[in-house]
């Protein structure tokens, strides 16, 4: 069986400054994988390069054995919440329906079926009552759940989510975790840019530690170690609870917690 995601020797540069250096990542199907690393490590860039949104200097990306353009319909993308204008004149159900546009293709308009799918997805993220709400009136957590509902209706096989836990309330965090497990239960693969090292072992099966280069990538139990974290974060680490770490050794936490993360990296 092909791996769900296979990134080989991926290099992305901005002029002569490498943003990603020769990154190799392989993820089998049906896992939840976190991408972690300090600010400016290239996490978002890696995701955008995989999705063909950023030009690459070298390397290749295979999704279930084929190139991204051949697999478009099987890939779901949840961009950073802050990447869109929430004052855009539209309502919640309409945004969720956008997730069906890829399946509709050019020219075909969404109809009853698409709206039904959108309403069902909104139910799954607990936003059913907000369907007709203007998107400008949503809280940050609600915006994130709308984006997740939009990803659900895409009905993809592999999902890429850029910081879905960024600045959300506890209800939304629980909803996201439940949803991730549900997606995995359905045999889907989910790759998540993540900031909170505390919850990596709890939420994810696999982890990729990134800091321009790929420091380590594999099952959380094998690669989420003190040594690898030290290599990823350098000196910018502090000590926290032991049980957040796979090996049970001294746990580490980034000095740059989720709250300071911007969309720049």
């Amino acid at each position: 069986m092909n791996p769900a995601l296979e990134v080989t020797d991926l290099t992305v540069a901005y002029h002569d400054k490498p943003v990603l250096w020769d990154v190799d990542v392989t993820a089998p199907a049906g896992i939840l994988m976190a991408i972690v690393g300090p600010n400016g490590a290239g996490k978002t860039t890696l995701m955008k390069a995989i999705l063909g949104l950023t030009p690459v200097a070298a390397g290749s990306v295979r999704i279930d054995g084929k190139s991204y353009t051949q697999q478009r319909q099987r890939v779901g993308y949840v961009p950073q919440r802050g990447s869109v204008d929430w004052d855009f004149p539209t309502n919640v159900v309409d945004v969720v329906t956008m997730g069906r546009y890829g399946a509709l293709g050019w020219f075909r308009r969404p109809g009853r079926r698409e709206v039904d799918l959108a309403m069902h997805a909104l139910e799954q993220v607990g936003m059913h009552d907000f369907a007709q709400r203007q998107i400008s009136q949503l809280s940050g957590g609600q915006q994130q759940r709308v984006f997740l509902a939009r990803a659900i209706v895409q009905d993809a096989d592999i999902y890429f989510m850029d910081e879905p836990f960024q600045g959300v309330d506890a209800t939304t965090e629980r909803t996201i975790v439940t949803l991730l497990k549900q997606l995995r239960g359905d045999g889907k693969t989910v790759v998540v840019v993540h900031h909170d090292l505390q919850t990596v072992a709890e939420y994810f099966d696999w982890v990729t530690l990134l800091n321009v280069q790929c420091i380590a990538s594999g099952p959380v139990g094998q690669v989420f170690t003190e040594e690898n974290l030290r290599r990823t974060y350098g000196g910018r680490i502090a000590f926290v609870e032991r049980d957040a770490l796979a090996t049970g050794g001294m746990a580490l936490r980034s000095f740059a917690p989720a709250a300071t993360a911007g969309g720049a990296d």
Binding site: G52, R72, Y77, P79, P89, T90, G102, W106
Partner: protein
């Protein structure tokens, strides 16, 4: 059809044609690009004119659309050097192209029907003199041009409505789904160029941008639905056109100028009076929040002193003015508002917290 009716019809069509792409320009934050394109299409017209020697040639539209895209591309190239920001890049590119066009006209095209005044301000009043027979009907030439442009606008936007909406709201998702947002962007810019050519004959380059941006910006304040925003934008454009025509008649002034002025007037009215996003609505909302906050503050103040030895003292109305440092008039207003909300009761100059007010104060303190 009388000349007066023909001019009004022209004004209405040009306003409608401009108002449609304007909606997407406003939502994408590229309104200034419309300003740039409406100027540089002139260079396209002049260059094509030198080749075909005919101001009525349909090639003028092609040339203008091409120059419009050149403007966009040059601006983006300059921006990608990261040496100048987008607004500066626009400000550098379009005056350069426009001034070349002005020099070419004044040096080589003098005497032909292409003079700088007409280019800047349009000749709406003279449009009925230049006529054409279409399908056996005698109509002003400009009417045919702008009707074609309007139809092109309606066709493009209804055909690509879903795609334009997605690419405008979330270009990243549009790209991953294979909807080529860059292509749509250039398509939209070509549409803006064509509209600018069709409109510049009638209202001149300077005012095209007013007809594109202002109705759309006003519509944005009035609705939270993209379809409705398109309809409202056209309606506001048409209203401005008609009002502008009659204003110009009244003042014996330039029609295009009066039309653009009316878009501005309508925008100002909407800016102040829009039901939810207008300045007045915002002011009322802020006042209400302040009043609610003050009433809650009063409830908390009374709660803090409930059962304390100083309760009787603290709950006196005249005490508020001293201890909370509230102006007498303000204190009275807050008390009235708090009474309306059912937070307090005032009995003989003393304030008493009601169960509602007690619950509210507890709730706020607990959160």
């Amino acid at each position: 059809m009388s000349a007066s009716l023909e001019i009004q019809l022209l004004a209405v069509l040009v306003a409608a044609a401009c108002a449609l792409p304007g909606v997407f320009l406003v939502l994408r934050g590229t309104a200034m690009m419309a300003d740039a394109i409406s100027h540089t299409v002139l260079l396209g017209i002049v260059l094509v004119f030198f080749v075909v020697q005919d101001l009525q040639s349909p090639w003028l539209i092609v040339g203008a659309a091409a120059i419009g895209l050149v403007t966009v591309t040059l601006t983006e190239l300059l921006q990608h050097t990261r040496l100048v920001k987008q607004d500066a890049a626009i400000g550098l590119v379009f005056p350069a192209l426009f001034s070349v066009a002005v020099i070419l006209i004044s040096r080589f095209a003098r005497g032909v029907h292409l003079d700088v005044d007409a280019v800047l301000l349009g000749e709406l009043a003279f449009a009925p003199f230049d006529r054409l027979i279409v399908l056996g009907i005698d109509v002003p030439r400009a009417l045919v041009t702008i009707a074609v442009v309007l139809i092109a606008n309606i066709a493009f936007i209804s055909l690509f409505y879903k795609e334009l909406k997605l690419a405008t709201f979330d270009a990243g998702l549009a790209a991953t789904l294979g909807f080529a947002p860059a292509l749509l962007h250039y398509g939209l810019m070509a549409l803006v160029s064509i509209t600018a050519v069709g409109a510049f004959d009638i209202v001149g380059v300077v005012l095209v941008v007013a007809l594109m941006v202002t109705p759309a910006a006003a519509a944005y304040l009035l609705t939270s639905d993209l379809r409705r925003m398109l309809v409202l934008s056209v309606a506001i454009g048409v209203l401005s056109a008609l009002a502008g025509y009659w204003l110009a008649r009244l003042l014996n002034a330039n029609i295009a100028g009066a039309m653009a002025t009316m878009t501005g007037v309508i925008f100002l009215v909407v800016l102040v009076l829009a039901p939810q996003r207008g300045l007045l609505a915002k002011l009322v909302r802020r006042r209400r929040q302040q009043a609610d906050f003050a009433a809650t503050m009063l409830a908390i103040h009374l709660l803090h002193h409930t059962g304390a030895p100083t309760e009787a003292e603290e709950a006196r109305i005249d005490h508020l003015e001293r201890h909370l440092d509230w102006q007498p008039g303000y204190a009275a207003r807050v008390i009235r508002h708090a009474e309306r909300l059912g937070f307090i009761k005032s009995i003989a100059g003393h304030l008493q917290l009601t169960p509602t007010g007690y619950a509210k104060a507890q709730e706020v303190l607990a959160s």
